[in-house]
Symmetry: D2
């Protein structure tokens, strides 16, 4: 069992990114892991903008990152890149903050034309934070995400994409822990 | 004479980025242009984070962008890219917001190892906003920026770099306006 | 009147990239400029791979770049980036080889998902060569390029895209030459 | 024990990239793995440029990639990116050619200013080939690589960097094979 933190950088409660992030979180929990959802927009805005690690809520969020085995980074694509909101949070993290962790990059966007933003823009930032293993990036077209009364929020194609992404992520989390498991078994 | 808007994305009043941005602004004004300095950290934090264009201060900032002939984008380099703060402001701009404008990308960083962040990370974002002409990127090493009592804030090497950058920028601004000038003269 | 060099990095004579490059060349010539088409695949392969500037054909190609006012860089998108063939030629150029020149980045690809490769991958390389002005990138979907008996090779949508690209490029070429023109007229 | 393929994209036999690649290969072999060194410049130039997979030597090289558990990609940095030569070889690989494989990105360059080229330029290409796990990128300053009579080719600092890189790579190779090992032991 791993501890997962889903960090989403959408700007509103109706954000498609948040819905997709929540969908992934439920998958992760259904497989027996623990997971929390950190919505960057809910952090104290002034402290976030000032990059103030002394703010208690910011401090707790940074600690949640440190405590997690795996991180899902979910962002809308704005102006051909990740949201400034998500980046403002990543800017608060200490050097090597993702060391030894598995990371799943996830984006929602209005057009396939934005797909490469994940690997060209977000991935180098994740690398600079020294992530242990970054799995394949997953891009979800906003038009494929719907809200219906029975709570189904993505279409079949997207559900498949996200299931595959969580498979990869879970494998990465387990591979990551193998050394410890081996050590315990001797 | 052109109207220039300097936008800086440093997180505090002691930010090296802000000092360098101010230095560039003084150069631009000394050459007979008008210039304003928009410090993103001074915008209302909550509205910035929520991406709320209805906020009056945000609305004015977006109008200042629309009214400018040239834009200086000044950012610290955090986690191998531009600051989330600067990007959060760019995320508020309408599509094509930089159409027909000259843009000068400018960064401050602690190590030469961050130089390519301007061309690989910031420039594609500027392109997505349909900038007219983006001049050479300029990178300033933080260690070369000092505050002394007589107000000199950069060393000779950096002063030369910034003078060259403003030369390029000014040329770009004038080239951009040439067609109108020609039209008027007929 | 400007001197334009179209450089294409497709791997075969049936390459869509070459067709689109040729289409752009005809546009440029129709507007009164001179233009040559340098197909990288026609350079001596061994000298290209060895990066040998002493090879006569390579030497002439490098001189053609030096003599041009404007450069069109046309590439297929392979593995989410420009072709190795195009890059192998750019690797032969001296530092600042594109200084003062206008550049039009142009790609053909099979899916919109590759669009950002131009601004995230090719543009930083062009910047490192110190290009004077790089106009908007243009991406052409391979499916929109056809060969018919009357020589029309692109559909209307693509023809419009390419006309706009050449408009931008031509404006950039003229803006670039204004200073010289003014100097001559005094 | 894993099968490793070191692919180097330097243009000459005196290339620093080749020396560093060879140094890494010896490390890998010393730890009990098998390793081959594929120098792209030794492939038939004409077939490489034409992207001809029917060429026997090209065909064998593509098969060596398919057979390897881990791939080291070693490149000089030219014009702020990987060499065209390396990319010309990667352009020959089928979609998903790196699926399930561990990859170590490695570059040599003349200045720290080129460090980010690995994560911003090469890594997205590696991702597009569906690599299983891409470990931290390693950048070696050319000035730190020397050839002495006793065969020591890198200084202590660089030796340490490369040892760490091979540690990461080896861990990645073992994590990757764990499932198979477990399967065999039942």
């Amino acid at each position: 069992m791993s501890a997962v933190l889903v960090i989403s950088g959408g700007r509103s409660s109706t954000s498609t990114t948040e819905k997709v992030a929540e969908h992934v979180l439920r998958h992760v929990v259904a497989r027996g892991h623990t997971a929390e959802h950190l919505r960057v927009r809910e952090l104290p805005a002034r402290a976030l903008v000032a990059g103030d690690p002394a703010d208690p809520a910011i401090g707790r969020a940074v600690e949640e990152v440190a405590a997690a085995d795996g991180i899902v980074l979910a962002t809308p694509i704005y102006q051909a890149a990740y949201s400034g909101l998500l980046k403002a949070f990543l800017d608060l993290l200490p050097q090597f903050a993702l060391s030894g962790k598995s990371v799943l990059p996830l984006a929602t966007g209005g057009s396939l034309a934005h797909v490469l933003a994940l690997d060209y823009a977000l991935r180098p930032v994740i690398q600079s934070l020294a992530a242990g293993h970054v799995v394949r990036s997953t891009f979800v077209l906003g038009g494929h995400v719907v809200t219906s009364k029975d709570g189904v929020t993505v279409d079949d194609h997207t559900a498949g994409l996200l299931r595959d992404a969580v498979d990869d992520f879970e494998w990465s989390l387990s591979a990551r822990r193998q050394p410890t498991t081996v050590a315990h078994s001797t």
